[in-house]
């Protein structure tokens, strides 16, 4: 069994779309001046890398990793094993999303505190200020 040219093209296109989106959001984190914009870009960067991790476990003509019938028939279990996608990246990404949310909310609180102290969220102006 092998994939056709068109299927190969679409899989490659999905991969490159995700990589280019990650590149654009890295530009947003590094080069945009506003701290709020940096946080928005950081959330997009996390999203793209989480999806890239899940994409590693993907295969064509597959089903989700959830068993639908609860009987001990070994033939059905073998069929499930060969047709489902990889559950391990999904389990790791699941916790990564929730912890990423908690850490990003902490970053938002830090940005609020920066605004209370410096009266601006422009990173170039913050660099010039003292104290």
């Amino acid at each position: 069994m092998s994939t056709s040219f068109l299927e190969n093209f679409f899989i490659t296109l999905i991969l490159y779309n995700l990589l280019v989106a990650a590149g654009i959001s890295i530009y947003g984190v590094v080069a945009r001046p506003s701290i709020t914009k940096k946080i928005i870009s950081l959330t997009i960067l996390q999203d793209t890398f989480n999806i890239l991790a899940i994409f590693l476990g993907f295969k064509v003509f597959s089903i989700p990793p959830v068993l639908l019938e609860l009987d001990s028939d070994i033939e059905k279990l073998l069929a499930f094993t060969t047709s489902a996608v990889d559950p391990l990246p999904q389990a790791l990404v699941l916790t990564a999303i929730v912890i990423g949310l908690a850490v990003n909310l902490f970053l938002i609180f830090l940005a609020l505190q920066v605004f209370r102290l410096y009266r601006t969220l422009d990173s170039r102006k913050i660099k010039e200020l003292k104290g």
């Binding site: 914009k37 999806i51 601006t120």
Partner: protein
């Protein structure tokens, strides 16, 4: 031919377009909304990648909680990003 690949390519392209718009936009409220649209298209991508668990956690987090928290931040600080 696995038809879900076509939809996957389509939705990931929409995600790429709105990532660019969110990063480049000067008005931060608009940037948050573009980021929410990008997240919605990524929800479709995750569903088509056969990850229903991640869809359930990703939908409330990135379409509900992130925009809300970021809009609170923008409302309490400054709205326009200066060049």
């Amino acid at each position: 031919m696995d038809f879900s690949l076509v939809l996957l390519a389509l939705f990931s392209t929409i995600g790429l377009i709105f990532t660019y718009l969110a990063v480049i936009e000067k008005d931060l409220v608009k940037a948050v909304i573009f980021s929410a649209i990008q997240s919605t298209s990524y929800v479709a991508v995750l569903y088509l990648l056969r990850a229903p668990d991640i869809v359930l956690v990703y939908l409330p987090v990135t379409v509900g909680l992130y925009p809300a928290a970021l809009l609170f931040l923008v409302g309490k600080t400054e709205r326009v990003e200066e060049e």
